[in-house]
Amino acid sequence: MEDIDAMFSDLLGEMDLLTQSLEQGTVPSESLPTIKKEVNFSIGFTDLNESLHELEDNDLDALMADLVADLNATEEKIAAEIRGLEEPSPPPPDLPPPPKVLSTHPAPSSSSPSSRNGSSSGNVSAPTTSTTSPLPPPPSQSTKPTKEEMEAQMKTDKIKLALEKLKEAKVKKLVVKVLMNDGSSKTLMVDERQTVREVLDNLFEKTHCDCNVDWSVCETNHELQLERTFEDHENMVEPLSAWTRDSENKVLFQERKAKFEVFRNPQNFYLWKKDKKTLKDMKDKDKELLIKENFCSTSIIVPDLEGVLHLKEDGKKSWKQRLFQLRASGIYYVPKGKTKSSRDLVCFVQFDNVNVYFGKDVKNRYKAPTDFCFVLKHPQIQKESQYIKYLCCDDAWALNLWVTGIRIAKYGASLYENFKTAEKKAILSSAWTNRSTPSGSSSSTPSPTIKVKAQSQANGHASTAQSEPLAQDFGNPPPPPPPLDELLPPPPPDPVHPPKPPSLVHKPAAPQRHNHSNFPPPPLGLDNLPSPPLPQPIDDSSEPPPDFLPPPPPNTSYGSLPPPPPPVNFAPPPPPPPTSFGGIKQSLPPPPPDPQFLPPPPPNPVFTGPEAPPPPPPPPPAPSPAPLRAVGRPAGSVKKMPPAPPKRTMPALPGGDGGGGGDFMSELMRAMKKRSDQ
């Protein structure tokens, strides 16, 4: 263990050095964002060290892989930056670089081409990690801006950067061990700013679970025998930092039906006085109305709960009954001899400073009248105290009513927002898994290098950012591609991907994530891998272009293909495709590529082979050819396109080609996982 610790600190030290060296040179804004990551890392060091002690060896291995990946990424970045410095504006010479970008984002490319145009800006913002954000500014500059404009741009970038740095300077990270249902555990790095939702998304990636809305992160307090489901919007690190040093508290990853039950069966909570049969037979229309009335108007309405509960008296083991009432402003009780009118109610507790927990085993521990107990306490209280309030209900049904009611009163609209986000997530992932499952995994699992693994995990951070965009477009499972675009900062890659599209399309959700994990470095890697990409891309491009050139003419964009890249600088490949697509078929931009791709599929398998060993290099080649082909073909064979469209739009349909690709991806993922777990 100590050895490992030592290695860790060595690594961290190295990273510090690296980052410092980066800062010394005036680095273009692009590189800066990525650097930040590392900076955080080193700053969070003390915390890390603490939490590391609790880790087991295999966890450490995984973490090590992460760190190594980070290191590699940093190195690559530095290399890229240096290159960038040498070549100020990447116009024509940049052609090669674009491929790199593309390669990194193979998965994203699958997303609908149509979205690319608009998505570019979205991409930038989506990745909080910053790699993407820097990218966008440069292109615009290169295209037209005068020097002054560029300077202004640089300045604003710097300001933004500085602001970000200020914020990130204090960011702390925790290594959290999450217990799975089967008794195994996963180790996560959680940064201070992450919400539970982001952590859930991370866990979805790591566990391949079905992503349904019930998956929750829960906290147990061993000493008090309490348990609580974190709400998705809550900050993850905050409650954990209240734990005492030696605590045996745990974080669980479980399905909790009760979490969002109120949105599935609102009548059980809002009309709880009605008889069970009416509640059971409630029509969907009426349920919707209830949700609308209570969660969608100006004010969140709390179920009007009222009932006799058993209250544990302060510091004693005796319990007494009182008539309690739940209101939006708190829990009240009716004092002896008074009426139930509002003005006579006595406030028992308000929710600002307390959380609600389930109490376990209270009959034994406190001589409670029942085991249906909920507990109200300040989140920082971790041990027995007179400030903890225990309340017992007569049955599980009432307990559920009260706990849910209190959560509605405390969290209000956030609960419903959480539910909507979780629901979208679930729909999206189910659509994707459907696709991916059919495809057989024929492709050989690439031998992921340590780097790859590491990268994938490192990407974990980036992935969190993605989660948000994904959620937004849930309504349409088929459209998954668009979300991807948003997620993937580098829009350009899309065009490149055409070759791979099948796989991408099929497993939008899973692949994307996987890709990330596998090629997490993309952002970094792309930048870093200038040398390999250059040759390949050029070759690919050179070959296909000539063939296609004739067809392209029709499309204005096409004709411009060669020149366009320079203007776009970063996204040379992407820009042309979007335009060409748009030109060809406004409504069906995506389809065209698919048909064309059909031929490419064979190449894909080929790619996979090469890709596996040297993950970074292979991607570049694929992208470059793909874009070209896509462009050329669309122009040439318009008719073919129509058939393809359905595939893209409908995730389920493209089972064949995409499935294969997806399998490959998932296999890769699995392989990586295994390794990392080992």
């Binding site: 710097k158 004010s299 969140i300 402003s329 509002s342 400073n353 041990k383």
Partner: protein, 649 residues
């Protein structure tokens, strides 16, 4: 056809003038009658708003193409020729009175639309008119004192022809007719800015319903929306109240709804102050704090649309930030160094009640940094390790202050794994107290002294201290700070607490709302009001078919409830969405409602006409049909279909 004499009273000739007699035939249309009348009076003026009112039948003869025969008018008919729009004294939700010209000939629903158009209140379907509660005004003729805002000169917009604009065009932020003169502008201000808190005496003098039955009586006063004012015996210059009748406020948008939002708030505020809606003591304190905040903010930021103001602020803040950053030489670390967090340092006394030893207060040198307090033996030793450092994040802060006795205590409940630690900090004077209290408050919410709200927090604490001072006699404090806390709560609490006792409690609630903008504070007030269990209930005393005692029917935006008068408990709830149909038997004045699952109820109404109950239910069903998909135009026909009596159909 034989000609006969028709005598018509022309109102414009004066109350004592004899009727004008003209010679007509039965096939003369009413338009012709009017022409003859006008010729005969020989008065030159704009008669376009005038029409004939048939007194015995209580109806207007508005169809000028109909003949006298068709109307069934004979020589014995008593007709009055008068304007359709007449002045009315209108009591607004904010307690002021406005004199304006309202339409006496169209259904009240349209009259209200006209009034709302004049005031720039969107969604007039939510409002209606009711007869005021008679005031006991024997003692003093306070009416003389009452200020009446005159709007009678506002040109009449052409009736219902202009569709109600959902986004009315504004001039200088107000409808054009308010921008005409300073006078008018002042009236618009009165409408769109909240009134200052009323004096406690004013509150206690107002009529307060003491029971559900009292509340039910109010609802007997609503006018019938499908009939006109004349038909309901409303005379020129009569006094009516304009109130929000349906508690289903659709699409409130502070950008367009300043008047509407303000008036809803005023109605809600009075409902709270007069205990029209019951709430708990804690809720009352929060309402009080919000009222205090709203009155303070609306005085300081008059008239500006707060949303745009906020945007400007943000803009300028960003700008200044950029300037600052440009000034610095870019390196982030340098920036960090320059941003040293402010801190507080002083001698304070501390007391921990938990320790059994009766040591009392001990003095230490205290340092407030970030969200933590540390203390040292003395100032000189403050460089070393503190005796203790206490992080205040998530703690509870309560004041224990008596200005007169110069007692300035801060009570802290600090969470720790073992429970809550209680401790007191004793400050020497007001200034010290305000600063440290503000620091503790911010720290409890995880904010540091560097937070922008620190100064305003200090200010608000000081102004609350000032309130205590004025209440205890010294009249020195600035006038704008001196709100009597009794103005913010219902009379029940006037008896229960002295202002001095009330102040810390309201201040306590105030800390959670002090940073809200005016609009946000108004919205928060409405949200809390709407979250009250009894919100939106209009009561009527009814007698259910087959029952021998009176019971109360509560009509809410989404349901009906049956309340047992004896116990005051809700016996039964029926939701509108389960309602299949409802009927009114106008002959026996009984309402029958059928719900899904073969549930039938029938009742007669005791404290209100069954038309009023019918209109309430139909009205709420109408309100629930509004949606953005259907556009913002008001479907008047549907409203009348759902609420009209048999005459309307």
């Amino acid at each position: 056809m034989a000609a006969w004499d028709l005598s018509v009273t022309v109102e414009d000739l004066g109350p004592d003038a004899p009727p004008v007699t003209i010679s007509v035939t039965s096939d003369l249309h009413t338009g012709g009658v009017i022409v003859k009348l006008v010729e005969k009076t020989q008065i030159k003026r704009d008669w376009s708003d005038h029409a004939l009112w048939w007194d015995q039948k209580q109806r207007w003869l508005l169809r000028t193409a109909w003949t006298l025969d068709k109307y069934g008018i004979h020589a014995d008919a008593r007709l009055v020729f008068m304007p359709q729009h007449k002045p009315l004294k209108l009591g607004l939700p904010n307690g002021t009175t406005v004199r304006l010209r309202a339409c006496f000939s169209n259904p009240v629903f349209q009259t209200v639309m006209g009034i709302c158009r004049m005031f720039n209140i969107r969604h007039p379907e939510e409002l209606s008119l009711l007869r005021p509660v008679e005031e006991k005004k024997k003692k003093k003729d306070k009416d003389l004192m009452e200020e009446i805002y005159d709007l009678t000169e506002v040109p009449l917009s052409s009736g219902t022809l202009i569709p109600f604009l959902s986004r009315p065009c504004l001039y200088n932020g107000m409808p054009a007719h308010f921008a005409d003169s300073e006078n008018m502008e002042a009236i618009y201000k009165m409408l769109s800015i909240t009134q200052p808190p009323p004096a406690p005496e004013v509150i206690s003098k107002q009529y307060r319903p003491a029971s559900v039955v009292d509340k039910a009586h109010i609802n007997g006063r609503w006018l019938d929306s499908s009939r006109c004012l004349m038909q309901q015996s409303i005379q020129e210059n009569d006094r009516l109240w304009l109130r929000f009748k349906y508690y289903s406020f659709y699409d409130i948008d502070p950008k367009y709804d300043m008047v509407r939002l303000t008036q809803i708030y005023e109605q809600a505020r009075w409902a709270i102050l007069l205990e029209d809606v019951d709430c708990t003591e804690e809720e009352m304190m929060l309402f009080g704090a919000l009222q205090y905040h709203i009155s303070k903010v609306s005085q300081s930021e008059p008239q500006t649309l707060s949303s745009s103001a906020a945007m400007d602020d943000l803009e300028s803040a960003l700008q200044s930030l950029e300037v600052k950053m440009e000034g610095e030489s870019s390196s982030a670390t340098e920036l960090l160094e320059n941003m040293t967090a402010p801190e507080l340092n002083d001698y304070l006394k501390i007391f921990r009640p938990k320790r059994l030893t009766l040591k009392g207060y001990k003095q230490y040198w205290f340092k407030f940094q970030d969200t933590s307090i540390s203390y040292f033996k003395s100032k000189e030793e403050s460089i070393g390790e503190p005796i203790q450092q206490i992080n205040l994040r998530g703690c509870e802060v309560a004041p224990d202050v008596n200005v007169a006795a110069q007692k300035f205590l801060i009570r802290l409940l600090i969470p720790a794994p073992e429970g809550m630690n209680e401790l007191y900090l004793r400050c020497e004077n007001e200034q010290q107290y305000a600063e440290w209290m503000a620091g503790c408050r911010l720290a409890s919410k995880g904010k540091t002294l560097a937070d922008s709200s620190f100064q305003s927090e200090i200010q608000s604490i000081r102004s609350f201290l000032a309130m205590q001072k004025t209440n205890s006699g010294s009249s020195a404090a600035a006038s704008d700070e001196s709100i009597n806390t009794h103005s913010l709560v219902s009379p029940r609490y006037h008896k229960k607490y002295k202002p001095k006792q009330l102040t810390p409690r309201i201040l306590d609630a105030y800390q959670n709302v002090a940073q809200l903008s005016l609009t946000d504070a108004l919205m928060r007030f409405l949200q809390i009001w709407q979250a009250l269990p009894d919100f939106g209930l209009s009561y009527v005393v009814v007698r259910f078919k087959g029952s021998r005692k009176d019971e109360v029917l509560g009509i809410a935006p989404n349901r009906l409830i049956r309340i047992d008068l004896g116990v005051g408990d809700v016996v039964k709830t029926w939701r509108y969405n389960n309602m299949k149909q409802w009927n009114v038997n106008w002959d026996i004045r009984q309402m029958a409602i059928e719900f899904e699952g073969n549930v039938n109820i029938a009742f007669s109404c005791v404290t209100a006409d069954c038309k009023i109950v019918h209109e309430f239910i139909g009205g709420y069903i109408f309100m629930s049909t509004r949606s953005h998909e259907k556009g913002d135009t008001l479907n008047e026909e549907l409203f009348h279909k759902l609420t009209g009596g048999h005459e309307a159909l």
